[in-house]
Amino acid sequence: MFLNTAGANTMEIKTLQGIHKSKGGLIRSFVTVQNGKIKEISISGDFFLFPEEAFFRIVEEIKGIKAEREEVELKIKEIYERENIQSPGTLPSDFTESIMKALEG
């Protein structure tokens, strides 16, 4: 988090970017964190994931969870199981890695 030098006492939330390549494709994550939790996230990539619509569950449900590796991976794994996701060459840990690269800079 960075102090905004332009205005007194206003906190600027910076969007962080992480890039990770799985065997199935490139995963680019854009994450903003507030109070140790993931506030906003968007993911862009050339991976494959079936059913495609389940991808939006991942992005939605990661919002609000703690910005920590274990929490992120647990949540993604849970969604994979529940939504019966298949993503050849890409594992829940690959999404986690992309997000963590953003968080850890």
């Binding site: 990770h20 390549k21 494709g25 990539g45 050339d46 991976f47 494959f48 495609e52 991808f55 050849p88």
Partner: protein, 247 residues
């Protein structure tokens, strides 16, 4: 011998083509193999964000849309020397395996057999590429709906790499683990491999024959059904909308 439908859409606006593509998958009119050649355009994969993957200021004279399958950008320059194909098939664990990579491999076999016809050393590179001497010559993308699969892919006859680089935001990480020094060295196209320009119609005929041999079917020329035309019509606004393309 079983007959499957064959359609050659010719040179098309990619937004119209993607609407027809989806309608063929969802209208349930039987297994179909089809060709098209895209006009100058960019098709985003389902999970790609336009502003992340593209240098949009450089893309102003391109038609941009998104497809319903994952994977990377399908870029077509104004040379229009690409054969794009689509396959819609019912998953049967034989011709169209349930296993995703096995089904890619089966369909990509048509491209490998076609390139073999021209004495090129082509191979399947999982997940979804066909390579000639380890250089990508064909990208493929699959999605599934109910009991069916739709696979689209391209066979590059000619390709303007510099133009693709100009319009893209490709990070260098993409090619690192493939141990390829640059994107320039990781791609190839048929005209370059053969050292001459072959007639596109001739290559399509070879591909069609290789498809028939691989799937043990006869391809019969046909058209979109009324049901598919109606569905295409309802899908068109999506492929033309900013909400879909720039979401």
């Amino acid at each position: 011998m079983e007959e499957w439908r064959f359609i050659d859409f010719g040179l098309v606006d990619i937004r119209d083509m993607m609407a027809m593509d989806e309608s063929i998958l969802k209208a349930d009119e039987g297994n179909t193999f089809f060709f098209w050649t895209p006009k100058k355009s960019i098709i985003l994969g389902f999970f790609q964000k336009a502003e992340v993957e593209l240098d949009l200021a450089q893309c102003k004279d391109y038609t941009i849309t998104r497809r319903i399958s994952g994977g990377g950008i399908a870029f077509s320059d104004d040379r229009c020397r690409q054969i794009n194909y689509g396959v819609v098939g019912t998953i049967d664990n034989e011709l169209f395996p349930m296993d995703i990579i096995a089904s890619y491999k089966q369909i990509c076999g048509v491209l490998i057999d076609t390139l073999g016809h021209y004495n090129l050393n082509a191979a399947f590179r999982p997940i979804n590429d066909v390579v000639v001497d380890n250089r990508k010559i064909s990208g493929n993308a699959q999605t599934r709906w109910e009991e069916k699969l739709l696979q689209n892919g391209t066979l590059l006859l000619d390709f303007d790499i510099e133009e693709m680089l100009r319009i893209s935001n490709i990070p260098k990480e993409k090619f690192l683990d493939k141990k390829i020094a640059s994107i320039r060295e990781g791609l190839t196209w048929l005209d370059r491999e053969l050292g001459e320009q072959r007639d596109m119609e001739e290559i399509k005929q070879v591909m069609k024959k290789k498809f028939e041999e691989r799937f043990h079917v006869r391809l019969k020329s046909g058209y979109l059904s009324e049901k598919e035309k109606v569905l295409t019509h309802t899908l068109l606004p999506k492929y033309y909308s900013d909400e879909w393309v720039y979401r």
